[in-house]
């Protein structure tokens, strides 16, 4: 303890305190403040950049989902249109078929009628002409 007290030098203590306080003040002003500010700013900008990237990714994903939905909707619409077209086609075909068969029936009927008329006319003709020829050839 005696040695400790003997070693203690007031001048050194005063110099040390003064120099340290001055160093603290100067470093604070010229070193720590710019260094820490710059590092803080850098950290903030990195954070912002990371956040921005995340945001962009999220937006892209949302966009992709939108695209997907639109595509799906288009597909459904296309299917609906196709179905409608097919139905229309079927309708047209069946309509044409019924119309054609009706027409056919009608034509057959009118043909039959025509045949009947012709037959009757022929028979009547035979009846009138046949009596003569019978006589002629008998």
């Amino acid at each position: 303890m005696d040695k400790l007290l003997n070693d203690f030098s007031l001048g050194l203590f005063v110099w040390q305190t003064l120099l340290f306080l001055l160093l603290l003040f100067l470093l604070k002003k010229f070193a720590w403040k710019p260094i820490l500010d710059a590092v803080d700013e850098r950290e903030k900008s990195i954070e912002a950049a990371l956040k921005g990237a995340e945001e962009a990714e999220r937006r892209m994903q949302a966009l992709q989902a939108d695209n997907e939905a639109a595509k799906k909707e288009a597909m459904i619409e296309r299917d609906a249109i196709m179905k409608e077209a097919r139905d229309t086609r079927d309708d047209i075909i069946s309509d044409a078929k019924t119309a054609a068969s009706e027409e056919g029936v009608k034509m057959i009927a009118s043909a039959r009628e025509e045949i009947e008329i012709q037959k009757k006319a022929a028979i009547a003709d035979i009846k009138t002409q046949g009596s003569f020829s019978f006589f002629r050839y008998s």
């Binding site: 040695k3 110099w15 120099l19 590092v39």
Partner: protein, 370 residues
């Protein structure tokens, strides 16, 4: 949080005590000290006593910057005294015929002599010392560290950010991770996110100052700044003042009312007779431990290293000499680590004490409700 900090402090204390114990030896050799004035007749330092006194001499502050005292290579430094007026003269005035600084210096009619690393007036050797603000070797080293820190490393680092768009360049770049380490692993966890910014400049300055001066002590220049009690006292005193002047209401409440509402007043009254003196003592013991730890570790490191080097001359043969050289080499490697470690511990514990001072509990509302 508090418990974790306490455990940390305990581990740090345990880590540093073995070195502390070994420094006790330095006190015993004080009686041999007077011999160093007479031992200069023989040129080589090769006896036990000579080595001992050489080491003790090295540990003391000197008024000149001796690079190689035996060969007389040294720089004079200014001596500044207040003794019924200001006296400023070169330390060369103390030089005697043998090239030692043991002569008598005259300044404006007064005569001074150095004894045991202090300047006395010759006619009152056992009386009052003159007020001594000399630029001694230690002050000179502090100044070197001061300008090295200020100009070489951190000013350039601080400037380089602006010049390079937020990215550091140059010598200072080496320091940036260490600055960030002090911020993120010393200041932030111990003081807390809210208040660490207030204490950070102090912690950074003290860390680099102590580290640089510790490293200076390992150079062959033979300086021993942080192993000087006046220097560590000044640093510890600043920590003490800074802690107590920034103490929050909670800090003082913790000192004078540590139990809070955990106990009725008559129970507390009994305990507080013991507790409050302990708490108050604690305010002083904390920086005191800082002062002693740094001083003792650095002092002990220098003694061990120089003793091992001295052993080479005592052995005086190939075998013992090379063995002590290897040992000294290993110890000096460890000392490089210790230089950093002690700076770290000093900063860490200072941050811990600042953390206590900056502490703010959340139990205010609870206390009002009762």
């Amino acid at each position: 949080m508090r418990l974790k900090n306490f455990a940390k402090a305990l581990i740090l204390t345990a880590l540093t005590t073995p070195v502390f114990a070994s420094s006790q030896d330095s006190d015993h050799s004080d009686s041999d000290h007077n011999e160093h004035t007479t031992s200069h007749q023989n040129d080589a330092v090769d006896t036990k006593e000579e080595i001992k006194s050489y080491i003790m001499h090295h540990l003391e502050d000197t008024y000149h910057f001796g690079i190689w005292d035996k060969a007389g290579i040294s720089f004079p430094l200014p001596v500044i005294l207040f003794d019924e007026g200001l006296h400023v003269f070169s330390s060369n005035k103390f030089a005697d015929d043998h090239g030692h600084h043991e002569g008598i210096a005259e300044s404006s009619g007064k005569y001074y002599k150095i004894d045991h690393a202090k300047i006395y007036r010759t006619e009152m050797k056992n009386g009052i010392l003159p007020l001594d603000f000399s630029i001694t070797k230690n002050v000179a080293c502090m100044l070197i560290a001061f300008f090295l820190l200020l100009l070489f490393f951190f000013r350039s680092l601080g400037k380089s950010y602006a010049a390079n768009g937020g990215i550091s360049k140059g010598v200072g770049r080496f320091m940036e991770p260490i600055v960030l380490y002090v911020r993120d692993d010393i200041a932030r966890p111990n003081i807390g996110e809210k208040k660490y910014k207030k204490y950070l400049p102090f912690l950074l300055t003290i860390f680099f100052f102590v580290w640089f001066l510790n490293i200076f002590g390992l150079t062959p220049l033979g300086v021993n700044v942080t192993g000087n009690i006046a220097v560590t006292f000044a640093l510890a005193l600043l920590v003490f003042l800074f802690t107590n002047f920034t103490g929050t209401k909670d800090y003082w409440m913790h000192l004078f009312n540590p139990l809070g509402n955990a106990m009725p007043w008559y129970g507390k009254a009994v305990l507080y007779i013991i507790l409050i003196p302990i708490e108050i003592l604690g305010i002083f013991i904390k920086p005191f431990s800082l002062m002693i730890r740094l001083y003792a570790n650095m002092q002990a490191g220098h003694i061990v290293l120089m003793s091992l080097v001295g052993l080479i001359y005592i052995f005086g043969n190939m075998m013992g000499g090379s063995l002590s050289f290897l040992l000294a080499f290993a110890i000096s490697l460890i000392e490089v680590l210790v230089a950093l470690l002690q700076a770290y511990i000093f900063t860490m514990l200072a941050a811990l004490y600042f953390g206590f001072a900056a502490e703010e509990h959340e139990h205010h509302d609870e206390a009002h409700a009762h």
